[in-house]
Symmetry: C2
Subunit: 151 residues, 2 copies
Amino acid sequence: METDQGAARYSSPTLDADTSFLLARASAMASAVGNRAVADLGLKVRTYSVLALAVEVEPSQRELAERLRLDPSQIVALVDELEARGLLERRQDPSDRRARIVAATPAGAALFGQARARIEDAQRDLWAPHSAPEIEALRAMLRRVAFGEPR
Amino acid sequence: METDQGAARYSSPTLDADTSFLLARASAMASAVGNRAVADLGLKVRTYSVLALAVEVEPSQRELAERLRLDPSQIVALVDELEARGLLERRQDPSDRRARIVAATPAGAALFGQARARIEDAQRDLWAPHSAPEIEALRAMLRRVAFGEPR
DNA sequence: AGAGGTCGTTGAGAATGTCAATGATTGACT
DNA sequence: AGTCAATCATTGACATTCTCAACGACCTCT
């Protein structure tokens, strides 16, 4: 036949069986979709995830860094930006004066609500070919790897 | 009880249900594991993936860029480096003198063999809690998103 | 009171992502 | 045959992200 020339050319058997490679490429595709979904709100998936934690957790910056797997110095820049836009604020942790609690302002919470709706819509489209149970099974596996023993 | 203080603190309901977020974090974890696995061969997952395609496909640089979702200018740098190390070579495409075919040298193929074994060992550990059919189902889903309609 | 660790911050340098421009070449059209 | 738009590899520039080291302020333990 040899009619398979439209889509899946140039594939390497090794890479096509390499879960990490597929993970990396799928992640890049998904975050591109996510970035596009919230771009006109002035957000990226990166800032969106900071906002989500600020709304739902109110973590310290260290906890933020841990959860997002970012260096603490990057958290400083991200929080600086969102704070300058009035979307969140730094509070003193009453039990530890070194720590800064990151909490959303009402404006931040409102924007998060909008962003969340757009992200979830975009995701739904992206994963449309799969059933809800399939997707939840996928998430369960990803959670284990995502939050497993780091090294 | 409130004994759950060891591992899963500071989690946001929204992010924990966000497939893209889990994908990003799992991908970061997996590529860190992969990079460590081939570090002493002088490779990263990035250069490893170039080598894999050079061995198994012998694509043009444009095809390489497409498959790895990298800008063509990055391919230039990656191929330059691996070529300087004698692991692959650029050949004229006989049917198009603009294009350069990227093919592994014997040394490149040998190194790829070693790297592949290490990557696959590391992956096995990473995904150990899951069964083979589960992992293949995961890969099938990732493939669809990874190579789905780009925009 | 002092020692050693943690938290946020600053700064630096490397790696990666993104985009525009160019010379050589191709393919299509006249 | 000759022109023209498109494609390929390359170079260069710039933004974003990653990674690490150092620091002052603060905490905990003794």
